[in-house]
């Protein structure tokens, strides 16, 4: 009966997130039925979840900026830049903590610049972040001349933890649970709770829903907008750390096209380019849906190359679905 809760149930769960859970379950059931052996195995499910870890982090970053009526096309290339910077530092024998800290600084600087140009410079978010996308990718390529950067000298724990798995014994079978997956789920869950329950983060929704109304309600709109891009950069950095650790390589071509998948997942998950809406749960369901579809293509001997096309179609269908719904309610 409580305020936010009841709306969530009536307004969102009954429609958006409810629909998404339903769609995900349907895909799950369909794949389980078609390929009971291959699909429902823990190895396969683990692979799906592990692969979607990075996309999920970037989609969360995208969701945060979409909430403040923004857009961040630079998530993929900032990931690459942070990865390359950290790998180069590790290669030179800089301690892991230091390398990670500098990587974080690089990512946050990119986010801060995005936010400043958008909030203070009043430039359209897609232009600013398109520029940043090119700049960050370019810098990453310049730093590495396009080569892989390995770091054999780095401390062992860093090269291990990205692939570490907790082994869980249930009955006779062992289940390996990847550590990065746990880290991501924990971090993002805490963030999700704070986003809707901590008054500071909850204000982001007001900023996106009506910037002028938020300003007159005493919310420092520019500061919150900048903060959203910095928070997004933080999640991008986490993805960069995990990816660099898991692959033991820094590479300038990481995350190419990832911004598109992140945007598609966030929009499917209920975020809107008009701002003021979006939820981490919805985004999770959106990423999961794209991952299941991708997995399905492989399992059903479909051409995996069709995956990307499906993402685009899913995005357009979701947008069309929304258009029809708003058309009905506003008339």
């Amino acid at each position: 009966m409580s305020l936010f809760h009841a709306t969530a149930i009536r307004g969102a769960l009954a429609t958006r997130e409810g629909v998404l859970v339903g769609v995900n379950l349907a895909i799950f059931a369909f794949l389980s039925f078609m390929r009971p052996d291959a699909f429902a195995s823990w190895t396969n499910l683990k692979a799906i979840l592990s692969l979607m870890t990075y996309d999920f982090l970037l989609a969360v970053a995208m969701t945060v900026v979409l909430i403040v009526r923004g857009l961040d096309l630079s998530v993929g290339s900032v990931l690459a830049l942070a990865s390359v910077v950290m790998a180069l530092l590790l290669q030179d024998g800089i301690p892991v903590v230091g390398a990670l800290a500098i990587g974080l600084l690089v990512a946050l600087t990119c986010g801060f610049l995005n936010g400043m140009l958008i909030a203070k410079g009043r430039i359209l978010p897609f232009l600013v972040t398109l520029g940043m996308m090119s700049i960050a990718r370019g810098l990453a390529t310049v730093l590495t001349t396009g080569q892989y950067v390995s770091f054999p000298k780095a401390e062992r724990w860093f090269t291990q933890f990205g692939r570490f798995e907790f082994r869980l014994q249930i009955g006779d079978s062992f289940y390996g649970i990847p550590l990065p997956l746990l880290i991501v789920l924990a971090t993002v869950s805490i963030f999700a709770v704070l986003l809707s329950n901590w008054h500071v983060l909850a204000r982001l929704f007001y900023v996106g829903q009506g910037p002028e109304a938020a300003k007159l309600s005493g919310i420092k709109v520019e500061r919150y907008t900048i903060a959203a891009y910095v928070i997004a950069a933080l999640f991008v950095w986490i993805a960069a750390v995990l990816m660099t650790s898991a692959t033991r390589i820094g590479y300038a071509n990481y995350g190419i096209g990832a911004e598109m998948r992140a945007l598609a997942a966030a929009i499917v998950g209920g975020a809107s380019i008009a701002g003021g809406s979006g939820s981490i749960l919805g985004t999770f369901l959106g990423v999961l849906m794209l991952a299941l579809i991708g997995n399905g293509f492989i399992l059903l001997n479909g051409d995996p190359n069709w995956q990307q096309a499906t993402f685009g179609i899913v995005l357009i269908v979701a947008v069309g679905f929304d258009a029809v719904r708003t058309y009905k309610t506003r008339r």
Binding site: L71, L117, G121, R122, I123, L124, F126, L127, V128, L130, G131, M132, M133, S134, I135, R137, G138, L139, T141, V142, T145, G146, G257, M260, L263, A264, I267, I273, A274, D303, N305, W306, Q307, Q308, A309, T310, F311, G312, I313, L315, I316, V319, G320, D322, A323
Partner: protein, 351 residues
């Protein structure tokens, strides 16, 4: 009462201020020239015929896409799908000719038609869903890029006939065919955009959709037409690129939309719509080509080019934002002057 007293009403309005657009064009032209001459002085050979050809060919496909993008941006929209349409056209025309054995001319016409349909769909969805063009065209970008990857299995297609290769490497009056195409297209579209009543409507829509509808403009129809035009041009660029590279590949033209948008923005168009010209876009394209060339010929890391591209896009939009601010300030000054005048005149009356 005398109906007219021309001496009191005759106020000539020819302002001292120079048109800001022309200042921008002349400035851009001079900067381009400076970079060109400076790089020639430093590295030599820049102005040699062979290098000029390389210079032009480096940006020509993005330039053709930028021509279509100009229409879209003036109308207040954006088309992120051009690069995917470009690659799609490469692949489709290649498949039609090599795998289906369709004659060259027919293959080209079918390909351009298919691209036109994609563009029309973009426009249709934009007006029907009333969603921002970014989202729609990004959906098209994703879908089409996926299709490109899937139908080629990630491999490139080659083995074109010599007739077809002419479209990429053949020369007319000593110039490569794509460059001739760019020049002709720029001239034709430039004239249309500047003088044809249908395309003049694009400016009105970019200035504001409500006033445009009030003055009787069919906004939806115009939008669909310009997104179609934009996609057809991207398709034409793709066909010529296939001939140029001798192969079609789904990865070709990656990030071309960024360069096309940058060329339009550097060329002085307002990214929020309402202003811009084909001439400006051509200048912007030439500028980007010259800068790119300077990077390639210099010993500076050519990978920096991406960085410079991004920085230039940002500078271009910051600049147009700055000009916009100046205009706002000027408006406020007029307001203040009017208020002061009114205040003193009412004081005089009350005395």
């Amino acid at each position: 009462m005398l109906p007219t007293n021309k001496t009191t009403t005759r106020v000539t309005e020819k302002r001292g201020g120079i048109n800001t657009a022309y200042v921008q064009y002349v400035g851009l032209f001079l900067i381009t020239l400076t970079v060109l001459i400076a790089s020639h002085q430093t590295f030599g050979n820049v102005l040699a015929g062979a290098n000029l050809e390389v210079l032009a060919m480096n940006m020509v496909f993005e330039g053709i896409m930028a021509l279509g993008m100009t229409f879209v941006i003036i109308s207040g929209g954006i088309d992120l799908s051009v690069a995917a349409v470009f690659a799609f056209a490469e692949i489709l025309v290649a498949k039609l000719m090599i795998e289906a054995g369709v004659p060259v001319a027919a293959a080209i016409i079918i390909t351009l038609g298919a691209c036109g349909i994609i563009g029309a769909l973009n426009g249709l969805m934009i007006v029907a869903f009333r969603v921002h063009p970014i989202i729609i065209t990004m959906g098209t970008l994703l879908t089409l890029r996926g299709v490109n990857l899937a139908i080629t299995d990630g491999r490139s297609i080659s083995g074109f006939s010599n007739d077809f290769l002419f479209l990429g490497t053949g020369k007319i009056l000593g110039m490569n065919f794509p460059i001739v195409f760019f020049i002709v297209a720029a001239l034709v579209l430039g004239v249309l955009l500047a003088h044809h009543s249908f395309f003049r409507q694009v400016y009105v829509i970019g200035g504001g959709e409500r006033p445009a509808r009030l003055s009787g403009i069919n906004v939806n129809r115009v939008k669909i037409v310009i997104y179609t035009l934009c996609a057809v041009l991207a398709g034409a660029a793709g066909i010529m690129a296939a001939a140029r590279y001798g192969a079609a590949h789904w990865g070709h033209g990656n990030l071309a939309e960024l360069k096309a948008i940058a060329a339009v923005a550097v060329g002085g168009a307002n990214i929020n719509g309402g202003s811009g010209t084909i001439g400006g876009t051509v200048l912007g394209t030439v500028f980007l080509a010259v800068v790119h060339n300077a990077f390639v010929t210099s010993t500076v890391n050519p990978f920096l080019y991406d960085v410079v591209n991004g920085v230039m896009l940002l500078i271009a939009v910051l600049l147009s934002r700055f000009i916009q601010r100046q205009n706002e300030h000027a408006q406020q000054r007029t307001r203040q002057a009017k208020m002061d005048q009114l205040a003193t005149s009412t004081e005089e009356k009350s005395e």
